[in-house]
Amino acid sequence: MGFWNILTYVAWGISAVLLAWMVVDAFMVSSQYDEAYLMSSREGAEDEVAHGIALDGEN
């Protein structure tokens, strides 16, 4: 099996891992957070949570 064949399989593999990671993470977020909260953003509204800090503390 040559370099390019291996590269093709590596590309398939990394793609599958990345896509699976996103889907699994999305399911985990849905199970850990209230839907109303996840969909609570409003246009023109300011963020009420310190960037990436308060949320981590809440978990």
Binding site: S40, E43, D47, E48, H51
Partner: protein, 463 residues
């Protein structure tokens, strides 16, 4: 867990405001720049080298109008969705739905085309190194998957990467320009011998306008980041107009170099004209640089397209124009993660289709429909909120001349598209009419009408 849920239910989540004018430049120019490396040259095939230059500047004027109008309106509407949000506030739900759909389709299809280009470049590189018929699909899919993952994980890193690779791709064009000794005619460049009269007359010039959009298609995408910039009133006009200036320079350089090296009959059908230009110069270093720069430009474009398509889809969902499920924001990364995931299989399916020609035309026409509606948006915006009635980060000059110019140039470009892709044009129109009927009859009943308008704006004049 129950405590976290209860605490969360009383709070609102929002996307992070972390972007600056350079990110906005990278978003706009990043989406477009691949068009300078490939695609623009089909204008040459339609009407010759001079027609391509005319299309470059005429369509440049169209996009300058787009950039000025977008900069003014978006500097007041600091919300994701860009032109969709503008249409919603200024005209109404049906136009907003259509514009939102144009945006999603234009960027998703463009992302698919970019991913295909990356696969094609890998195949070309493998062929040069002696491996024929490399399967392009895994590389096209990897491009979409990796960039979607990057977008999922946060907007700051996504657009910082875009800034770096877009700048490098632009610099490659500048290096190529100086490599051809641009100020000495007849040494490397052969414009005197290669530039002919218009081979198809003025109708060829009109026909070339359709592919002239490749020089700039996507610069309007800067507006999608309005909700994530630190200061929309400053960053959007600076990034968008700076991006437009960059593209005017890049487009002119591109035409100048390529038309001075290749006859129009070849240039008009070349797949990678700038790589071919580097090959003609006989320098393997330049050849490698242009190969890498073309790949960077395609990746930057796909990256920006995923960013923009997901923001447009997210905005439609947030207002319940489509299922509200897609209006969720990731609690850690603060990105519209469900919208990003939803668009991945669509982009991949079009990236591996053999109908690339139709995919690109769909993207161009969706963009063009959006620009057409922007003219009406702008005229009504100034009427409803005259100067002084609302804070504007930027006021575009000579109103209503840019809006009228934009409308006239859009009509000319529709005619150009009809000449080459009449059946596609009509089927795309039919698709959007069907979607509009569905929205009016089936979907609008689910929209919470008052919830759509949460911007702290004064009441419009006359209402």
């Amino acid at each position: 867990m129950a405590t976290a849920t209860a605490a969360n239910s009383n709070r609102r989540i929002a996307m992070l405001k972390v972007l600056n004018p350079f990110h906005i430049w990278a978003l706009g120019v990043g989406i477009v720049l691949v068009g300078e490396f490939m695609g623009w040259n089909f204008t040459v095939g339609k009407g010759g080298a001079y027609a391509s230059l005319i299309a470059c500047w005429v369509i440049g004027l169209l996009y300058t109008c787009v950039a000025m109008i977008d900069s003014e309106v978006t500097s007041t509407v600091a919300a994701a969705g860009g032109q969709y949000t503008q249409a919603k506030h200024i005209i109404g739900p049906l136009m907003a739905f259509n514009v939102g759909l144009y945006l999603v389709m234009a960027y998703t299809m463009l992302c698919a085309a970019d991913a295909w280009v990356v696969g094609y470049l890998m195949q070309t590189g493998a062929a040069v190194m002696g491996f024929a018929d490399l399967d392009t699909r895994p590389f096209a899919i990897l491009t979409v998957a990796f960039l979607a993952w990057l977008n999922y994980r946060g907007v700051f890193m996504t657009l910082t990467i875009n800034l770096v690779i877009t700048f490098l791709a632009f610099m490659a064009l500048v290096v190529l320009f100086f490599a051809v000794d641009p100020f000495s005619q007849g040494v490397v460049l052969q414009h005197q011998g290669l530039l002919t009269d218009l081979p198809y007359g003025w109708i060829g010039v009109i026909a070339s306008l359709q592919f002239g959009m490749w020089y700039y298609l996507g610069i309007e995408g800067t507006c999608q980041a309005a909700e994530e910039v630190r200061s929309a009133g400053r960053a959007i006009p600076l990034g968008t107009l700076g991006g437009m200036l960059t593209l005017l320079v890049a487009a002119t350089i591109t035409w100048f170099v390529a038309s001075g090296l290749m006859p129009w009959q070849y240039l008009g059908q070349a797949v990678t004209p700038m790589y071919d230009a580097a090959t003609l110069l006989g320098s393997s270093k330049l050849q490698l640089m242009l190969f890498v720069a073309t790949a960077f430009a395609a990746i930057a474009s796909a990256n920006g397209c995923i960013n923009d398509a997901s923001r447009a889809w997210f905005s439609l969902a947030r207002d319940r124009y489509i299922p509200v499920f897609f209006g969720a924001i990731h609690p850690s990364y603060r990105t519209p993660y469900r919208a990003i995931i939803f668009l991945v299989p669509i982009a991949i399916s079009f990236a591996v289709t053999p109908l690339l020609d139709q995919v690109i035309t769909f993207s161009i026409l969706s963009g063009l429909l959006g620009y057409t509606f922007m003219t009406f948006n702008m005229l009504k915006f100034r009427k409803m909120w005259p100067l002084g009635s609302i804070h504007r980060g930027y006021i575009h000059p000579f109103h209503p001349l840019p809006a009228i110019t934009l409308l006239v140039l859009c009509i000319a470009t529709y005619f150009a598209t009809f000449l080459g892709y009449g059946a596609t044009l009509l089927s795309i129109m039919a698709f959007y009419i069907m979607a509009s009927i569905w929205f009016v009859l089936q979907r609008y009943q689910f929209v919470k009408r008052a919830d759509q308008f949460t911007m702290p704006w004064p009441r419009p004049k006359g209402y």
